[in-house]
């Protein structure tokens, strides 16, 4: 007498194994299709803009704009602040009328977001010798600032992209009418 329940279990396991194998075959890519160096997340998802000498010579900043209208603003590698041997020693968001790091934006409608013009001051970065004001570059509402920079200003010096972002801002108007002196709409590769 055959034990059908055992057979059934074995069949089920076998079936599941087969399923796993075929799943695995779909998952593993063909190495020949893979690029040597893939595009970064920034390159794939954002359009990069470079603003050289924004309001002042040497004040080079970048803006990454996402398809959904959000912008990330930061110091470009060529910013004059990085030329100081000490590097950046402090970041202070308390400029202008309010402390930018204190604003809490809530909800889908982004309540409490403060509206900024392109030359509004966002923060100050300090080196041993000098202090530089970083401006918004684009007109929009400020959603958040990178407050890790308050405790770890040295992150900016690392020049690793993920650490240099200063803030994100919701913007509707980038690219329209802003072809002023301080604005160069140029797409760059980092």
């Amino acid at each position: 007498m055959k034990d059908h329940s055992v057979d059934h279990t074995i069949n089920l396991e076998h079936e599941q194994e087969q399923e796993q194998d075929s799943l695995h075959r779909i998952l593993v890519p063909d190495v020949r299709d893979l690029p040597l160096t893939p595009p970064s997340a920034i390159e794939s998802n954002f359009v990069s803009y470079f603003a050289p000498d924004f309001t002042k010579p040497g004040h080079d900043q970048y803006v990454y704009r996402h398809a959904n209208g959000l912008c990330v603003i930061g110091l470009a590698r060529t910013h004059v602040a990085f030329k100081d041997t000490s590097g950046i020693t402090a970041v202070d968001f308390n400029v202008g009328k309010s402390d930018r790091s204190g604003i809490k934006v809530t909800g889908k409608r982004k309540k409490n977001a403060q509206h900024f013009e392109s030359n509004s001051a966002l923060c100050k970065v300090n080196t041993d010798d000098a202090s530089y004001i970083v401006r918004c570059c684009v007109k929009g509402s400020l959603l958040e600032v990178n407050d890790r920079l308050i405790k770890q200003p040295g992150l900016l010096n690392s020049l690793i992209e993920k650490d240099t972002l200063l803030l994100s801002c919701q913007n509707q108007q980038i690219g329209s009418k802003s072809r002023g002196r301080y604005w160069a709409l140029k797409s760059i590769r980092n």
Partner: protein
């Protein structure tokens, strides 16, 4: 007893539509004598002077029966008419043979002042043509013809009736009048009037049995609803009835029945909810107060009610699991500025294969979670529900299997379906239950900016139930709240890819709601820790696949 029956029925037998004749006689043949006998008994049990009183005021036969709380199939007997009442009452009074005066014309020309003709099967159809059905059966025939014409395949039905609020008003007036006039009499003390049947229920009693015969199925709780909505033009509208310390207050608007002013707002319909509200208001009224509010005798009714017949099936649900093999197919229809994003959608592929086979009006797609358009859904699949509205047919099990095969054999092989079957409303709760706690398993194709080392495999595998903090990803921040979300990565495993030192497959199992892409590349530092931060280098994700949605519903049995 036996004598009385035959004479009455033959005399009162009304002329009927030849079309429906054979059906009616089929129904009546079996029950004719019994029914009339039962009717006779019932009527004899009623106080004759009260019945005559009501008849003279313009209340129809069925309304009289229901005011006295009579229930059951008696309402569907076609022999019901004032003449029957009269003849039975005549017997009571004189104890002699039936007076010949009772053989009057059976046609109730006058609309019942209480039910506005509803229980006399008199109404205006949707083309505004006045209709008078001779019996409950005739009306049932009209209904069953509609059901068949619209092609519904049913195994049960439920009747739902809605009547204008003025009927409740009228009932209250009648009851008050009867209470005042006969309140002291012994039969009133027994309280039959307090057990009155509503006009709605009386109509249901009238139609249920004939419909069961014609449609060949039972009436009761069913997913197929036959709705009869009666409305009356320019009748009084009771806006609100408030009970205060001083007594009753009523705000009256609209015209009275007699003056048909076309400029006044049209039909006034009533829903069950409104009925309940009106009833509750009436219950609270003081009897003596309302003499000013209610008119008696009831106003004459010149127009019948307008009837809307609507057949509707409650939504039916198809449950199952779907797989998505393409990186260019969104889960639901996605259109921006008149342009479709992606090649197709899971929703449309599955829905468009189910809805037409049910002959439904439309469908809705629900899934337990979702994945991006460029992420494949593999493994056991993701649970989903397709809700079909007003299905005219419900496919059999075999037919449902055929639908599944059809979808899986589509030429472009974009989507697959497993375990498709018709489920009840419990399918809904099954899907939503624990959606937030369920774990999901993924396989990601990851690239790092330096060669992979053996020690990396260990450092990744050793992390169990690791907590991460994710700020709302920038790519969704425009439509979601800016929040910090704590998520758990249950386990991870690196699988090397032969022929590459910087690419590998990352298998991981995470809490529901984790953004995997951001966990790999770190979203500019807004998700930490991330794969990049753990391995100390830059990490990018090229491809993502969902390999398992760990939920119990719609699994292979």
């Amino acid at each position: 007893m036996a004598n009385a029956n035959t004479n009455n029925t033959e005399a009162e037998h009304v002329s009927i539509d030849s079309e429906a004749a054979h059906v009616i006689s089929a129904v009546e043949e079996c029950h004719d004598d019994d029914d009339v006998g039962a009717l006779h008994d019932v009527v004899q049990g009623l106080p004759s002077h009260a019945v005559k009183d009501l008849l003279s005021v313009g209340v129809c036969t069925r309304c009289i029966l229901r005011l006295f709380g009579i229930r059951g199939n008696i309402y569907s007997i076609s022999a019901i008419s004032p003449s029957i009442l009269n003849s039975v009452i005549g017997e009571q009074r004189h104890g002699e043979d039936i007076s010949s005066n009772s053989k009057e014309s059976e046609f109730e020309e006058v609309l019942c002042a209480l039910c506005l003709g509803i229980l006399q099967f008199t109404y205006c159809d949707d083309k505004e043509i006045p209709v008078k059905k001779e019996s409950a059966n005739d009306m049932a025939v009209a209904i069953s013809e509609l059901v068949k014409r619209e092609g519904y395949q049913i195994d049960s039905f439920s009747l739902e009736v809605s009547v204008p609020p003025i009927i409740l008003e009228n009932e209250h007036s009648v009851r008050l009048y009867m209470k005042r006039k006969y309140g002291t009499e012994p039969w009133f003390q027994g309280g039959p009037f307090s057990q009155s049947i509503s006009a709605k229920d009386a109509l249901k009693f009238s139609l249920a049995k004939p419909l069961e015969t014609l449609l060949d199925c039972k009436s009761g709780i069913s997913n197929f609803r036959i709705g009869l909505t009666f409305s009356h033009k320019a009748s009084k509208v009771v806006q609100s009835v408030a009970v205060s310390k001083q007594g009753c207050k009523r705000i009256k608007t609209g015209n009275s029945i007699d003056s048909l002013d076309d400029s006044v707002a049209g039909d006034i319909k009533c829903s069950d909810l409104a009925d309940a509200t009106v009833e509750r208001s009436f219950d609270g009224l003081q009897d003596n107060e309302s003499s000013e509010c209610f008119k008696f005798p009831l106003q004459k009714v010149n127009d019948a009610c307008h009837l809307v017949l609507l057949c509707q099936r409650t939504p039916i649900y198809f449950g199952g699991r779907y797989l998505k093999y393409s990186r260019n197919v969104s889960q639901t229809r996605w259109i921006i500025d008149d342009e479709r994003m992606g090649e197709a959608s899971v929703e449309e592929i599955i829905g468009s294969n189910i809805q037409p086979l049910c002959q439904g009006d439309n469908y809705k797609f629900h899934a337990a979670g979702r994945e991006d358009i460029d992420v494949r859904m593999l493994g056991s699949g993701r649970p989903f529900l397709v809700e079909v509205q007003n299905a005219h047919r419900i496919p059999s099990e075999a037919f449902v299997r055929e639908i599944e095969t059809n979808i899986n054999n589509l030429e472009n092989k974009l989507v697959g379906v497993k375990n498709l079957k018709v489920v009840g409303i419990e399918g809904w709760t099954m899907m939503r239950e624990g959606e937030a706690e369920k774990q999901k398993q993924y396989a990601a194709l990851v690239w790092i900016s330096r060669p992979l080392e053996d020690v990396d495999l260990d450092s990744i595998s050793s992390l169990k139930d690791m907590q991460i903090l994710q700020g709302t990803p920038i790519r969704v921040l425009h439509r979601r709240s800016p929040l910090q979300r704590e998520k758990i990565i249950h386990w991870m495993k690196i699988e090397r890819i032969g022929g590459s030192s910087q690419y590998f497959l990352l298998h991981l199992c995470t809490q529901a709601g984790t953004y995997i892409k951001e966990f790999v590349h770190g979203d500019l530092g807004r998700t930490h820790p991330s794969i990049g931060s753990i391995l100390g280098c830059r990490a990018e994700i090229l491809q993502l696949d969902v390999t398992d949605v760990k939920m119990d519903c719609f699994l292979t049995e």
